[in-house]
Structure formats: C-alpha cells, structure tokens
C-alpha cells in the first residue's frame, strides 16, 4: 500500500511541471497564438528560479523570477509573431533554441549547487492520517497552486467576460477586432501568461523535483506539454487528466525496478515520448472533431484592416 501511495505522489510530482506549462499554453492557444517555445521558456524559468533561489534564499522571489523570465521570453515571442508577424512555428523553434542556449550560459556557475528544501504542506492531524493524509495534505505548495490554476483558468475561460474576450480573439480575430476588442494586446497578455506558467513549471523542476540545476533538464517536457494541450482538446480539466496520466507513466518507469521489471533503463526512458505519440495519434484521428475543438484562429497572424 505504501508503494502505491509513493507511486501516486511521484506521479503528481512528475505531472505538476507538465500541468503548469500546459495550463499556460492552453490559455495562449485559446487566444489564437501557437507558441512552440514552451521548452525554451521552461528551461529559462528553471535557471531563473534556481539562480534567484541561490541568491536570495526566498521562495516567493525565486518563483517570481521564474515567472518573470518566462513572461519576458514570451514577450520576445510576441514581438516576433504579433508585432512583426513572423511565422509562429519558426519563431517558436527559435525561442526554444535561444532558451536552451541562454539557460546553459546563465547556468554555468550553478551546476553542483543545490537549492534549499521546498516546504511541504503540513496540517497537524490531517497530514498524519494514514494513507490519504500524505496523499491529500502532504504535497509541496506548487502542487496545490497548479491545481488551483487549472480551476481558475477553467472558470475564467468559461465564466467571465475576460474569458469571453479571450475566446473571441482566438476563434475569430476579425470579428473580435470589429467589436472593438484589442486583439494584439489580448494575445500579448495571453502569451505572457503562458510564458509565466511555463517558467513556473521549469522552476518546479529545478527547485522541487531535482532540486539542482542541470543543463537541458527539461528534457522535452515543454513539447510534451504542447501535446497535452492537444490531448486536452483545449479544455483545462482535461489537461489535468492528461498531465496526471503522463506523470503516472513517468513514475512507472522509475518504479519498474521496485516492481521487478527487468527492462533496460534507457528503453524505459522512452516511454513518456512514445506515450505522447500514441496519445496524439488517438486524439487526432478524428479530423473533424479536432478541427471543431481547436481555436479557429490558432496560429493565424492577425492584421488589422480597419
């Protein structure tokens, strides 16, 4: 039973960076912007958070630094695709390459250092309950924050005026512009929100999961987050489901030894990537449904004509 609890907790930890990044990218894409640079924003967030943590020893400052760095990266992307109207696919790739290089340069003096322990929730009585205590009340704070963000994003998108504007901009930017909504400003904000969330996801890796700085430590998680948005059909609660599913797969790989499976570690490490491909295939198979789910103006440049 303890093993099971450990697996579930491990799955939640593995899922949280994916969930944070995917929630952010989901908002970006609902506004019609396809930012393929999630990986780059995550890795810059990871080193920004880590270096701020080393410098200040303050968790709020570290998280703010990570979010700020991610948002700045996303703003750079915004300048390219929203102001200068460059190709969104190519610019996203550029953002990833730039982020990987920048983080490696930035992180040079930080390898070998370790971040101070991240606080976990502890409610006397509740956390000490057998089994469900640790499962429900014993996580680090970012796990709860990521869940809260899913709820918040779901509510804002479906239940508020801001969400309505955002969706209008993503579904039909010409109509949104005609009504008088600021399409470009709205997309900038959505992209920067996505960047901040990706940065937070990256910081979760360097501050909670490892807690170390390792070059290229995101290892494709940004891309998996992108796939999760497709899996989620652009709906926040389904992103939660997808992220936890992926977390489970990642953790299964770590616990396979304990479960007595004798498979080469490197072959097992392929699992999350292969699972991503499998999920994409299953989800995208129905072309019509895919087209109905995706924001209609996703990836299309907007140019005000009047």
């Amino acid at each position: 039973m303890d093993l099971l609890v450990n697996i579930v907790i491990g799955a939640m930890i593995a899922a949280t960076p994916l969930l944070l990044a995917a929630t952010g990218e989901l908002v970006t894409e609902r506004a019609g912007v396809l930012n393929l640079g999630v990986e780059g924003m995550m890795i810059v967030g990871a080193i920004a958070g880590f270096s701020a943590m080393i410098a200040t020893r303050s968790i709020p400052l570290a998280l703010l630094a990570a979010m700020g760095a991610g948002a700045v990266m996303a703003a750079l992307f915004g300048i390219l695709v929203l102001t200068l109207r460059a190709s969104q696919v190519a610019s996203g790739l550029a953002l990833t390459m730039f982020g990987l290089g920048l983080s490696a340069l930035w992180g040079q003096g930080y390898s070998g250092l370790s971040a101070p322990a991240f606080p976990h929730l502890h409610i006397p009585g509740l956390t000490d309950l057998p089994l469900i205590g640790k499962l429900l009340f014993g996580h680090d704070l970012l796990v709860y924050l990521s869940l809260a963000m899913v709820a918040l994003v779901a509510w804002v998108l479906q239940g508020t005026h801001i969400g309505l504007i955002l969706r209008a901009v993503g579904e039909n930017h010409d109509a949104a512009h005609a009504i008088g909504y600021p399409v470009i400003a709205c997309r900038y904000l959505a992209a920067m929100f996505g960047g901040a969330m990706a940065g937070l996801g990256g910081a979760y890796l360097s501050l909670v999961v490892t807690p170390l700085w390792v070059e290229r430590m995101t290892a494709g998680r940004g891309w998996i987050a992108l796939a999760l948005v497709v899996f989620a059909a652009w709906r926040p609660w389904r992103a939660l489901l997808g992220a936890y599913l992926f977390g489970g797969i990642t953790v299964l790989q770590l616990h396979s030894q304990a479960l007595g499976l004798k498979i080469d570690a490197q072959l097992l490490a392929m699992l999350p990537y292969l699972a991503t491909i499998a999920v994409l295939v299953l989800i995208s198979r129905d072309t019509m449904r895919q087209r109905l789910n995706a924001p209609a103006c996703l990836g299309k440049p907007f140019h005000a004509t009047a």
């Binding site: 300048i79 190709s87 920048l102 340069l105 796939a227 295939v281 140019h303």
Partner: protein, 363 residues
C-alpha cells in the same frame, strides 16, 4: 530585400555578439575576429569548415523542401541519429571486412534508416492526422535513447574497456584534403544542393511544393496530393539527415558513441531559414554556421569563452532572421495621419508572398 535580410540579420547578430562578449568581460572585437576570421586563415580551419558544414548543408537541403510546403520536420536530429545507427551497424556487421563496396552499403543503410525514421511522422500525419512537429520531435528523444541503449549493449566494443562505444569502423570516409579531416561527404552535400536546386526550381515537384506552402487551397484545386507531398518531404529530409548521420559516424567520429547527435539536426533548421530555403543560400548559410561552430571552439580554448555562447548566438541569429522578414513581407512606413493625430509606424499589408493580399491602408 529577399536576399538582403539575411545579411541584415548577420549584422544584427554581430552587434548582439559585441554586447554579449562585453557582458562576459571578453574583448568583443578580438572575440569576433577569433570566431569569424581566424578559422579562415589556415588550411586546417578551412578543412574543418567543410567537416562541420557537411551535415548542416545536407540536412538543411532536405528540410528546406518540407518547410517550403509547410511540412514541419523538426526531428532531423533523430533521423540523423538513426541513420548513423543503421549505417554504422552495417559497418559493424561486416567487421573487420574492408572493401570498396562497404561504404556505399553503409551510406544506403544510413539513408534507409533516416528515411524510415522520417516515415513514422509522415505515416501518422497522413493516416491519423497527428501533428508532425510533435511526433518528429518526440522521435528525436527516442532515437537518442535508442543509440545510447544500443552502444551500452549489443553494439558495444567487445574488446573495449566497457566504455559505451562501438568498435572503430574499418572503413572511413575518403578524404578530399589529405592530412585534414575534410572528407568526400562535403562533395556529396554540394551535389545534393545542386539536385535540390534543379528539382525545386524547375521540376513540377518543386512547383507543387511551393503552391502547397503558399496557397494550400490552390494546391487542392490543382489536384496536388498533399498526402503524397508529406510522404515525399519526410522521406527525402529523413534520408538526407540519415546520410549526414552516417557521414558523421564514418567520417570525423569513426565509431558509434552516445554523444554522436551534437545538435546538427536543430542547427540545420536555422541554416535552412538563413539560406532562405534555397539550395544555393543553404550552402552559404551552412558554411557560415559551421564557422560559428569552429570559431566558437577556438574562442572556447583561447579565450575560455563558454561553449553555450555559441548556442545563444545561433538562437539570436534565428530571432533576428525572422524579425527581419517583416521587411520582406511588409512595407514599413510612417503614417502621419492616424485617428488621434499621432505619428506612428505602421506595418502595411503584404506586398509579396501572399496570395490573399489585402489592399494597403490609405495614406
């Protein structure tokens, strides 16, 4: 403007480089001359230039066809790795045989391996509508892990000291400049560029690719099969990347090692854009990016410039390149009369490359 913007992007990157070096407290001009001029002054430097440019040009040539059509193969790094793996496996299977026939066989196996790895995203895109960007990228991680797993296991050198590396190949790439590492792969890359030039500019296939990329609806009215073009682009770019992988394994490296995939597949994306998706441009761009690699290494040794600086450079380069494209697709002009009377810079609607150009704003 079309040919001028890459030059502009280079200049902007150099300017950013000066700032970057100053921030790292290295003499900027000295560093720039070390990176961009020093390698060109020695025979060894020139030979190394061709060694680094070979995979970049070969991969970028393959990618350019797809990018022109809006088919995004981002996983060239994976196809490069699998090509090295299959081609290298042939060399190891016939070990210790040598002979004129071995290298062509290895090359064919490399092409087949890369093309097969590229066929997976093509199949999933055409059959199941799965996004080829994400699939090809995920397959890169799988390929690198596969290489690591195989050189740790079945392909490991039985006479080695348990290091994760294969035997040294008995057949090497023929050299074109003796005493250096410059090998015949560079000639093959140039030939590939020539063939691609003819196909893309004068053959019907090139026309279909262009139409699909710029006006997908027109392509479907014209009866061009998107499915067929997706397959073609992925097989060609996968095959090119696979061949480049084999050249790298059989040329400068000489065996299979886990660190064989060194990012050429990703840098080649920059090369393709820098070369404006045109074979001749790609050859020049490949040489230029190769120069940053070699110069970066030189600066790393003599000025202790961090190796990551090269990666930052390359990322910035692509940024500037894409940003400068606004000058190609749009006309910038000062607008004097706007609604609230302010003077402001306006990007006017497309002047080329857009089949659906919207009339410009009135002055």
């Amino acid at each position: 403007m079309f040919c001028l913007t890459p030059v502009l992007a280079v200049l902007l990157t150099l300017a950013a480089g000066v700032v970057l070096f100053a921030a790292l407290r290295k003499p900027p001009l000295e560093a720039l001359s070390l990176i961009f001029v020093a390698p060109l002054t020695t025979l060894r430097g020139l030979a190394e230039l061709t060694v680094k440019a070979t995979p970049l040009i070969l991969i970028a040539i393959g990618l350019a066809a797809g990018f022109r059509a809006g088919i995004w193969n981002i996983g060239a790094e994976g196809q490069f790795t699998v090509g090295a793996l299959t081609g290298g496996s042939v060399a190891l299977a016939f070990y210790p045989a040598t002979g004129w026939w071995l290298l062509p066989l290895m090359a064919l196996a490399g092409i087949a391996g890369g093309a097969a790895w590229g066929a997976i995203p093509a199949l999933l895109r055409t059959r199941f509508n799965a996004n080829e960007i994400l699939v090809s990228l995920m397959l890169t991680y799988v390929a690198v892990l596969l290489l690591g797993s195989l050189v740790h296991g079945p392909l490991r050198d039985p006479d080695g000291l348990n290091f994760p590396e294969s035997r040294l190949f008995q057949t090497a790439m023929p050299l074109i400049i003796s005493g250096t590492r410059a090998h015949v792969g560079f000639v093959v890359a140039l030939l590939a560029a020539l063939v691609a030039w003819v196909l893309l500019e004068w053959h019907l296939i090139g026309f279909q690719i262009k139409v699909l990329g710029q006006a997908p609806r027109a392509a479907s009215f014209g009866g061009f099969s998107e499915r067929r073009l997706v397959w073609l682009c992925f097989l060609v770019s996968g095959g090119c990347a696979g061949l480049a992988g084999l050249f790298e394994a059989a040329g400068p490296v000489g065996q299979l090692v886990p660190q064989l995939p060194a990012g050429y597949g990703f840098t080649a994306i920059i090369v393709a854009f820098l070369g404006r998706l045109h074979p001749a441009g790609i050859v020049l761009a490949g040489l230029l990016m190769a120069l940053t690699y070699i110069g970066g290494e030189t600066a790393q040794i003599s000025m202790s410039l961090p190796s990551a600086a090269t990666a930052v450079f390359q990322g910035l380069f692509l940024f500037f390149l894409l940003a400068c494209d606004v000058l190609v697709t749009y006309r910038l002009r000062w607008m004097w009369r706007t609604a609230n009377g302010d003077r402001k810079l306006v990007v006017s609607p497309p002047i080329r490359h857009s089949p659906l150009a919207i009339r410009p704003l009135r002055d």
